[in-house]
Symmetry: C2
Subunit: 423 residues, 2 copies
């Protein structure tokens, strides 16, 4: 493999009624030197230096239904996984270039009945090309003062419509309830009824008052995303200058450019929302695996990455969530490029034992509960206690029902949400 | 419809084995006020102000095969088109916000067997929110001095591997051949063997010499895309300061943020490559129509948009290309927001008559030929003449075979490429 030391290796799932291997070679050809006229200057050396090449092919079981609808039916569609190596010399250590060359035109090639990017392996030349997460898990723990358990957070609801003073009223209840982290819904940025500046002015005094009283600063992530990076940076400064320490970034909407611009200048923990990622990943034969997507955004500087959770309210199956958790926490080059997984969607603590068991028995996560905290029958403070109790039981591998015998908040949570969650 | 004057209306294709209408209402709910707890401050007025609502539903024919694979099979999957209106008051006139709210989380909702964004209608409040194209068709014509026919261009091949002096040698042949426009392959940005700065230094003197001799300045679009907007802007300045007037932007790789940052500062014609767009659009039951995508990028400032062409070498069917051409050239708010369609992929002039007939009998396009010019049997100058002759015949509605009787370059092109193209 020494010949691959300065190669970007991309793994494609290729599906075709024809010859998927030929399509793998076509990708390698089209996405590097691809041309239809032989050129005078095209020496074998030059070609070898910049050509992509197929380095491995693995045959998978064929499928009966094509991923892209096909006019002419076939009895079966063959599937392979192909590893294609692209020389960094031909690309440069630039993620936008990698995206363009290894993925950009690939999905347009004729003959596929399906095509999905499964993985990408980056060589050492990318190690220092991007800053990566500035805070990650350790920074989040330091800023929130939470050790020995997950950081427990919640999301302001309703998603849209609250005025700044209404948001601040909710925040007051939530910080009093003992949450470690609060965030704007990702859909809330800076609409006329709640301009970011007004919201920061209303919310930050509540956070700072609570810090002064208790010594604990709740991390509040404000929605600062904007199309224009200059506007996003101005939003960043509004939050940072008011003493805030985190921001929600809709990474898919601001794009690589918005994120790269922000990361270079950021003083905030960047909490990423994968808005639109599902377009790329929900069909298992098309698009790309989260693993690939996650590597790009981690290198670009995401500190906290929202994924789903066990028994999420969205479409994602549990095994896909478990894989996503691993995708966030497996080093690319070094542990410093890990981002903190944000487990959410329909969480209330009841999923803590299964999350613990299936994600490597770690407490290094941000656990976001919406209704699980605010709709607890004894109020949000009891909700927070119930979630902590659930995680404490999970980490000690005590069944929740047993732990609930001596912990009333957990017992009431089980009674209220247990049925819903198992429904 | 007066109630929709300050609404963003998004049209969704919804497919489900269950009740697609219920899913339309679920989108409207989840993507605006969506919450699972009734809140004290949630007055009906507030809700009305920020709630999205379903304003029209059209029933389509059901399909037998689901767009997303389903574990439990069903006999048929119902399809509707639903128009959902989002108040700008709840969103703000920001494209990243629109993308997040109307598309971001939508694809994650359970119960779909398919979901695709078909259209988006933006209200007048967006009219001046974005700069739109700076040059467009009229600017391209002014800078190239081409009137009364399509602007004819070509792409440097091979895509990767040529050193700057080799690129310059090819450029010399191509400007001598009479092309109006040349571009870097979108996969070429700034690799080690051809750093942008060196390439500009090698190519621009050829362009400027030719201008001095002939009075005609060939437009050369250099690949300036980079992940970091500051780097992209430095690349922009290298091109502009050397007398260049155009750049290739891989819009999908730089994202809204990269494009917005560049457009505010740009002195160049921005030629967009939709690298990765196919991931979003190839499956007809998933992702989004080009129409939607195109509106976003036009508002963000794309001057020239690469689409495919009739009988393209890629997967896209002709009717989809024809629609894309219309998507580029239909005003959103005003004719100034039109971008110039770039027709390419396997073009050589033989497709001119059909392109003419099916795209509104217009000559306002950039027509890119690769092999059609450089592989012409009598050389590239004959190739350019053949393409001009084909368009001249097309616009006068003279059959190519007739026109070829008196135009030898076109005749040789027909003999060489006619079989290939029809194969």
């Amino acid at each position: 493999m020494s010949c691959l030391t300065d190669m970007v290796v991309v793994t494609y799932l290729i599906e075709s009624a024809g010859d998927p291997e030929a399509l793998a070679y076509k990708i390698a050809h089209d996405q590097s030197t691809g041309t239809f006229v032989p050129l005078a200057g095209e020496t074998p050396e030059l070609k070898a230096r910049v050509s992509a090449r197929v380095v491995d092919i693995r045959h998978l079981s064929p499928v009966g239904i094509p991923s892209f609808p096909q006019e002419a039916g076939a009895r079966e569609y063959r599937r392979i996984e192909a590893d294609i190596a692209y020389p960094v010399a031909a690309v440069g250590p630039d993620l936008a270039a990698i995206m363009t060359i290894t993925m950009g035109g690939v999905f347009s090639i004729r003959g596929f009945s399906g095509i999905r990017i499964r993985d990408i392996a980056l060589p050492q030349s990318f190690r220092n090309a991007y800053a990566g997460p500035q805070f990650g898990t350790s920074g989040t723990r330091m800023l929130t003062g939470v050790e020995g358990r997950p950081v427990i957070g919640t999301i302001i609801k309703p998603a849209l419509g609250l005025r700044p003073h209404e948001t601040a009223d909710l925040v007051r209840d939530l910080v009093d309830a003992g949450v470690d982290f609060i965030k704007d819904d990702e859909k809330l940025m800076s609409p006329a009824y709640s301009p970011l500046e007004e919201r920061v002015k209303a919310v930050m005094p509540v956070i700072l008052d609570h810090e002064q009283k208790t010594g604990r600063k709740v991390m509040y992530a404000f929605g600062i995303s904007a199309t224009d990076p200059d506007v996003m940076m101005r939003n960043h400064d509004i939050v940072a200058n008011a003493g805030g320490n985190a921001a929600v970034i809709n990474i898919q909407s601001v794009g690589f450019g918005g994120m790269a611009f922000l990361r270079k200048r950021s003083r905030l923990v960047l909490h990423a929302h994968r808005n639109g990622w599902d377009i790329l990943t929900r069909h298992p034969g098309l698009g790309m695996d989260f693993k690939v997507y996650c590597k790009f955004w981690r290198l670009l500087g995401v500190d906290q990455m929202q994924i789903n959770g066990i028994r999420a309210k969205y479409w994602e199956p549990d095994e896909s969530f478990v894989q996503a958790f691993s995708d966030c926490t497996t080093p690319i080059f070094a542990p410093s490029d890990i981002c903190m997984p944000v487990v959410c969607s329909g969480q209330w603590g009841g999923q803590a034992p299964e999350t613990w068991k299936r994600t490597g028995k770690t407490l290094d996560l941000l656990y976001l509960c919406g209704g699980g905290i605010v709709s607890h029958p004894d109020g949000p403070a009891a909700g927070v206690r119930a979630v902590r109790q659930a995680w404490d039981a999970a980490a000690r591998e005590i069944p929740l029902a047993v732990h609930a015998n001596t912990h009333s908040e957990l017992r009431h949570a089980l009674e209220t949400f247990g049925q819903l969650d198992l429904a």
